[in-house]
Amino acid sequence: MRFRTAISNVSLLNKISRSLAALARSCVIRLSEEQVHFIVPGNESSTGVQVWSRVNVSTLFDGYKIESNAGNEIWLELHLDSFLKVLRSAHSSVGSFNDNGRNASALSDADVILKLNKKGSQPIWAFEIRGYTATRKQMSITHEINVKILSPKRQQELNEPLCPQPDIHIVLPNLLELRNLVSRLSHVADDVRISANHEGTLELSVNSSRVNLTTTWKDLVIPTSTADDQERVTPPSQQMFSTTVAIKGLLKFLTSHLVSGTAIMCICENHCVIAYVYIGELNETGGVLTFFVPGKTVDDD
């Protein structure tokens, strides 16, 4: 089992990990030759929100080498806390111009190498950050975090949730604005009802003993249907499809505004909502984070 790569996009990996950390303490990473899958199974998060995402290797890594007996795939599990600490250190060392200007601890010509090693019997991920200080001295920082290699049995237990054919797909408004609004709704009630129709209307409504509140977006984009959708009978365009979810759960998904501003949501009526957060542009996407937010059963209808 061998794994070695340079991390070319530390900032993106950092953002992905931060949005995962909002959901769970640990996550499963499935490394294959072409793609990296970040998985947070439902039992890991308190709200039942699951993440099943895949990111193209080239989006995050450079000089990527993987070998294993299981079709060159490695499944491992790690603690997001320690992973984030390392990434933060790496992020500040590589010196980001984009976020907070250049910070003092930044190294020049820095690169970050990630290796799968073994320390005794404990598998570890070793991060080596190398670069030059302002005085052109070479500097190298190494972080090691424990990882757990998943057995084939455990791998098989991890299954993407089965969902019925979604009733509707809709492109969400800007995730950051949506997030801020939803966080304000969380002061009013615990659950929110999400509804959408094929005219591009999206509604979020909350009810409490004091107030009923509905926020409506109009003329959002409905993605063009794919081939297998066309066999289905098109419902009347005004018909609303709804699911009630916990606001806490929805907010967990919305932490992904860090990664990208655009997402498509689909609603499986009274079952769940699924959100696809695209990394990069919609047409040449470098990957997609898929969030499953389970629906709640409501008493009155």
């Binding site: 801020n180 966080s183 009013v188 004091r210 509140l213 926020t215 977006w217």
Partner: protein
């Protein structure tokens, strides 16, 4: 009953902030009683028999205000918390967008801080802190964002419905606030014939004083001496200038706020000088004490206000009126919102 089909109230504005600011000033309880008049709203909050706070909200805060008087008074109770949350749904009417209010208002002294309506949205959710940061950043950059509102009340038994939007292309929010039959209000009236002290001064002076009061004090004493009071005996250990100051203040009259805390006594004096007092009417010496936690509530109400008018009846009943800055096009004699706080004096301590 010819009007029975028309809604009792339709009020519209393109910026909810002045409206929200007034409501937040009296946000000391979860529920409030709202009365609608020809001249605007009166929103009242009462702490059982001890404190009464009223926000007088004139029609000039709205771009249009249509009131069709129903046969019964247009009065109902609603959740003030929920109303403030609705107005801030797009983040343009929160406490942060009008400058941060220091939490010293009610806190300090080990007293647990109670969360009242509109106390800002800190709390629970993991990522809230970030959201606030983002809000502030957005507020800094795009100060032009305003939330517009259309409020409608059909009449007795109907919800108060509010339509909000911050951008023509953006989302809209409709809120239906449940209305309840109002609780009976005490709302003791201030009797102008019984006035023992009447003064008007800048809010700033008064707010600074409230900030300086020791947080551990429980009683706050207001004391006023009329002009040409007998000169106090010279303190042997006082400097010449402070003796001179005392003499001057006795000459012109003064107002002072005193509070005793764990670490001593704080006294703030305001001489009846032109640059301090806009108006100062005091016949004879008055001194009354009030509950400091009630006084602390004034702090938030004073935020962004311009002037206060403080009146005390002969029996100690206090009425503080806080005036908000005048908006554009307010007619002479009109106002852009007044917050009124009324409270009874505490019994004299032995």
């Amino acid at each position: 009953m010819a009007n029975s089909t028309l809604p009792v109230l339709i009020a519209e504005t393109n910026d909810v902030r002045p409206f929200a600011r007034l409501l937040r000033g009296i946000g000391l309880k979860h529920n409030a009683v709202m009365e609608i008049y020809e001249a605007g709203f009166a929103v009242t909050v009462e702490e059982v028999r001890t404190l009464c706070a009223i926000a007088w909200i004139p029609t000039s805060l709205f771009t249009s205000f249509t009131y069709n008087p129903p046969s019964t008074p247009a009065t109902f109770e609603l959740s003030l918390d929920a109303l403030l949350q609705c107005l801030n749904i797009f983040g343009n009417a929160g406490s942060s967008s009008v400058g941060s209010i220091s939490s010293s208002a009610g806190g300090g002294g080990g007293r647990t801080k109670r969360r009242w309506a509109g106390d800002g949205e800190s709390g629970g959710m993991g990522g809230d802190h970030e959201a606030d940061e983002v809000d502030q950043r957005r507020g800094g950059r795009g100060g032009e964002k305003r939330t517009g509102m259309r409020m409608e009340w059909k009449g007795l038994g109907y919800d108060l419905s509010i339509l909000l939007s911050d951008d023509a292309r953006g989302p809209t929010t409709t809120c239906n606030l449940k209305t309840l039959e109002p609780e009976e209000l005490m709302n003791a009236q201030f009797d102008p014939d019984q006035t023992a002290l009447y003064l008007i001064m800048k809010s700033e002076w008064f707010r600074d004083a409230l900030l300086d009061l020791p947080p551990s004090s429980t009683r706050i004493t207001l004391l006023a001496t009329p002009p040409r009071e007998s000169i106090p005996p010279q303190q042997p250990d006082a400097t010449i200038s402070s003796n001179g100051r005392h003499r001057h203040r006795a000459e012109v009259g003064q107002f002072s706020i005193q509070a005793e805390g764990d670490f001593g006594m704080t006294e703030l004096d305001y001489p009846n000088d032109k640059e301090v007092m806009d108006k100062f009417e005091c016949e004879k010496r008055v001194s009354f004490s009030y509950h400091s936690s009630h006084f602390a509530l004034l702090h938030r109400a004073l935020h962004q206000s311009v002037k206060i008018c403080l009146q005390i009846e002969h029996d100690g009943f206090l009425c503080v009126q806080i005036m908000m800055p005048l908006g554009e096009g307010v007619p002479v004699g009109g106002h852009s919102g007044i917050l009124e706080f009324k409270m009874h004096a505490l019994e004299e301590e032995d």
